[in-house]
């Protein structure tokens, strides 16, 4: 479990990134972390990974304070940053150096992922494209078999077939013992995979809810014209009329459209928070 309590964080004198943020993440979920540019998605992941320290409050991961960076904590958490550095060595050599830090690392699994991504561990990082490097690191991240897996924009830079492979692989490793957190702007890439959804804005968590909870309370649909003004939380023009988000008063089973949800949440913060509390 990841328990974030009363967490405040800032980068010096500028406006705080988080103010008294509370968030609890539990095993068996693939969390989708959404937020505008600069909302603090990466900062939150880095606080969870013990790479940044809160100015006040705590971040406890599986019973360990993240900022203590104890080996027992570090060996069971993997953080894949959006921008990364790869040393000028063969993939194989990279694994030889880094895998020993992760007791549950499986080389067999790693080689399977590489094969799926059409890479060989004999290749040098310097000879790979950005997307290929990313795929090698995704494969490594998943092969560490850590209880906590944090990924910052993992699908950025991946080609079309790799995005599908990525979804399949995540579906195969999302077990009941594991917490996976994926921050993304590419919600269309991951729409059917990430659940629950966390939306960050304005130094706080605006929403942390499962798709089931979201569609119980909200209804996503396309209508030719908007009439019931009172119930519409958000609407935007689309090819077939208006895409709208309304309160789900008729017990409808609509599909959560994450882009609409995101826009609705940011434009209607108070109402959304009230609906979900």
């Amino acid at each position: 479990m990841i328990q974030i309590k009363n967490l405040s964080f800032d980068y010096g004198k500028r406006k705080p990134v988080f103010r008294n943020l509370d968030l609890t993440l539990t095993e068996g979920n693939v969390y989708g972390l959404l937020g505008r540019n600069g909302a603090g998605k990466s900062s939150l992941l880095r606080n969870m990974a013990g790479l940044l320290f809160p100015t006040s409050g705590t971040c406890i991961v599986n019973g360990h304070n993240a900022q203590d960076r104890l080996p027992v904590f570090l060996q069971d958490l993997y953080f894949l940053p959006e921008e990364f550095h790869t040393p000028p060595v063969k993939i194989k050599e990279f694994v030889d150096v880094y895998a020993p830090f992760y007791p549950n690392f499986s080389r067999k699994q790693f080689l399977e992922y590489l094969e799926e991504f059409q890479l060989s561990d004999n290749e040098k990082f310097t000879e790979l494209s950005l997307g290929q490097k990313k795929k090698a690191l995704i494969g490594f991240a998943l092969s560490t078999n850590t209880k906590v897996l944090l990924m910052d924009e993992p699908t950025n830079g991946l080609d079309i077939p790799s995005k599908s492979q990525f979804r399949k692989i995540i579906a195969s490793v999302a077990t009941d013992e594991r917490i996976i957190v994926i921050s993304t702007h590419q919600v269309r890439d991951l729409e059917s995979l990430i659940d629950p959804i966390i939306i960050l804005d304005n130094s706080e968590v605006l929403l942390n809810a499962t798709t089931e909870e979201i569609t119980e309370r909200l209804c996503f649909k396309t209508v030719s014209n908007v009439t019931e003004h009172d119930k519409v939380l958000y609407s935007e023009h689309s090819l077939r009329g208006f895409s709208i988000v309304t309160q789900n008063t008729d017990n409808e089973h609509s599909k959560a459209d994450l882009e609409l949800l995101f826009n609705a949440t940011l434009t209607n913060q108070a109402q959304i928070k009230q609906l979900f509390n």
């Binding site: 693939v30 059917s192 609509s254 599909k255 459209d257």
Partner: protein, 121 residues
């Protein structure tokens, strides 16, 4: 799997499974793929498939043998047909009516075309 926009994904997966059963690709008494296998194949969150499986159990379309997985139940064909029919009447038919009204297509024309469709088969 390409998901449509208008319906919860767990229900679309339920339809997918019902179609396999109605097409006899998965026969009565057969074991269906596990939650994880389906999640990987359809590229969805395993929790979503778990919800589908629970839903289909409530509808008596599949049943579980402890520790062995999920199986197609004896009455699956009729229950799956009822589920699909209900869904068609509630969701697809109103849209169809709306379109034929908009385009001024009468029942005679439909009857003729349906005849051609059946012959074509």
């Amino acid at each position: 799997m390409e998901f449509r926009d208008n319906k919860a994904i767990y229900l679309q997966i339920a339809e997918f499974i019902c179609e396999r059963i109605l097409l006899k690709q998965w026969a009565v008494g057969d074991k269906i793929p596990s939650v994880r296998e389906l999640a990987v194949q359809l590229e969805v969150n395993p929790n979503t498939v778990a919800r589908t499986v629970e839903f289909l159990q409530q509808k008596d379309i599949i049943f579980t043998k402890r520790g062995m997985g999920y199986f197609v139940s004896d009455e699956a064909i009729e229950k799956a047909t009822a589920f699909k029919k209900d869904d068609f009447l509630q969701n697809d038919l109103p849209l169809f009516f709306k379109n034929i009204q908009l385009l001024g297509i009468d029942f005679e024309e439909l009857r003729g075309r349906f005849g051609e469709f059946q012959e074509g088969k």
